[in-house]
Subunit: 301 residues, 2 copies
């Protein structure tokens, strides 16, 4: 199979693994896709088993206030997705229905709903940490649906996907050591599935001209790493695991202190679960029953 | 414990089972809550094991066109949640950031994103059925996050929650017989967990004055059933499982035919997974390790 976006997308569709919805970057996953995703997520759970992480699950919407405080709109406005609702009376409703029937815009009849779509899996954790952390800090484990407004025919560029995310809050040493441990674990896990993974220094897609400077600083300070695998291109491999060291960004914003009263630091890491599945389908074929025995026995034990 | 919304909410929070977010109807679930939810969902899977359902998983956003075609805005505009995104240039971005910093509205800088939040777990299935069904029809199995704009301090009234949903499409007899089988199964499952469940004819919360007529028709024709359990009130028990017989509403809309060329019919049923958990916590206490042995052994085997 060539490294090519169209070939991968068409293969996934032809094998029933994904079900197009009519909107780019929004599609269903079938039972086989989900089985692979759940099995891979299970391998991560096994790696994390003795870490003592606190598991939390949040719905896919985030309070608008938390979203605004986090500064997401400064850095990534192009990816953000807001939520609106209809709060009108019966007359407004008549107008709403008429406009839909006549294919006219009706967004002026909708009002902001007080929430945004979850931009990243770790965001709901930080406000819940406001105050003083216990000695040794805290560690969280989540699997969340997240959203990016970047409609694309490229299958790994989804408007909504699941991320298995861990967040560490504590002293700088604790946080960096934890990040490094998981960078090694993540790489090893993906290599054990016979995927040509490698880690690299990376940057976030900051918006606009000022964003280039932010991205360059982020690289220089090595605040972001990614584990990448060729999925739709050899030259531009796909990030399947991402490690962000926030220093005290979220701790300043939400008031998170170490046990000794100093400002805490945070880092997070996330596995893009659908992207890992697509990497497996790309490298081992669309039928898991024909995958190398070593890969099968890792996933199905 | 009295049947009272505040008592249940405060008990869930005090025991760490839910984590408030600052927005009503939006909260995190801890590991214990999730374990109960997953175990209960597993019991449903066991009941469905030999039905041959096709499993599908869709992200929490639905193409706007599908949403509009489905007629949701005619019936339930007050519950709908739309999605917006920022598509502006650098100058607009400066203005966006300034307005957020000064707590001014910025929704006029956002544009409709072509998707809506998933209003009900079954909605993405119908457009994918356009065409002719195989002999015997089709059956689908999904667990989806769904959204209702009804902020409330009442814990069972969430803005976002998970539904385990099945959809049957086929002849009227097939569809009604399937619905009746699951009505008995659902009731039996909840009774086996020592919950005081009962089934009843129900209606949807149609909008406005015209809505009362629609609700009354729905009841008369027995198109909707619910399994209800007292959770926050004895007089107004909470629906934990809902059965909707659509007749040919979706088949007409999306063009779904039986193998013999006649218009198909559809029905769906959904278990409100968080509500079932809350019913278990309300009736058996906030600590699953102290639940009746019979309930524990059902869930933990």
């Amino acid at each position: 199979m060539p490294f090519d976006s169209t070939t991968l997308y068409e293969g996934l569709v032809a094998n029933g693994l994904i079900i197009p919805s009519g909107v780019q970057g929004v599609f269903g996953r079938n039972a086989v896709f989900e089985e692979v995703l759940e099995r891979f997520n299970g391998l991560i759970s096994r790696l994390a088993l003795n870490d003592g992480a606190e598991k939390m699950t949040f719905p896919p919407i985030l309070p608008r206030q938390v979203f605004e405080q986090s500064g997401y709109m400064k850095s990534f406005p192009q990816l953000a997705m807001g939520v609106t609702s209809f709060c009108g009376c019966a007359a407004d409703h008549g107008e709403l229905v008429r406009r839909i029937e006549e294919s006219e815009p009706y967004d002026d009849l909708m009002a902001p709903a007080g929430v945004m779509l979850m931009p990243a899996a770790c965001y709901p954790v930080y406000p819940s940490l406001a105050g003083t952390l216990p000695h040794g800090g805290r560690l969280f484990d989540m699997t969340h649906w997240v959203f990016r407004h970047e409609p694309s025919s490229e299958p790994t560029r989804m408007q909504s996907f699941r991320v298995r995310e861990f967040v560490r809050a504590g002293s700088p040493e604790t946080v960096i050591q934890w990040r490094d441990t998981w960078l090694a674990r993540g790489l090893e896990l993906l290599l054990s599935l016979e995927l040509p993974a490698r880690s690299e220094v990376a940057s976030d897609p900051f918006f606009g001209r000022g964003g280039r400077m932010l991205a360059s600083n982020q690289r220089e300070q090595k605040l972001k790493f990614e584990v990448v695998i060729p999925v739709i291109s050899i030259e531009n491999p796909t990030a399947v695991c991402s490690f962000n060291y926030h220093q005290d960004h979220f701790s300043q914003t939400f008031g998170i202190l170490q046990a000794d009263g100093q400002l805490a630091q945070t880092a997070c890491l996330g596995f893009g679960l659908e992207r890992v599945c697509m990497a497996l389908f790309r490298h081992h074929g669309f039928r898991p029953e024909l995958w190398p025995q070593s890969v099968r026995s890792l996933l199905w034990t």
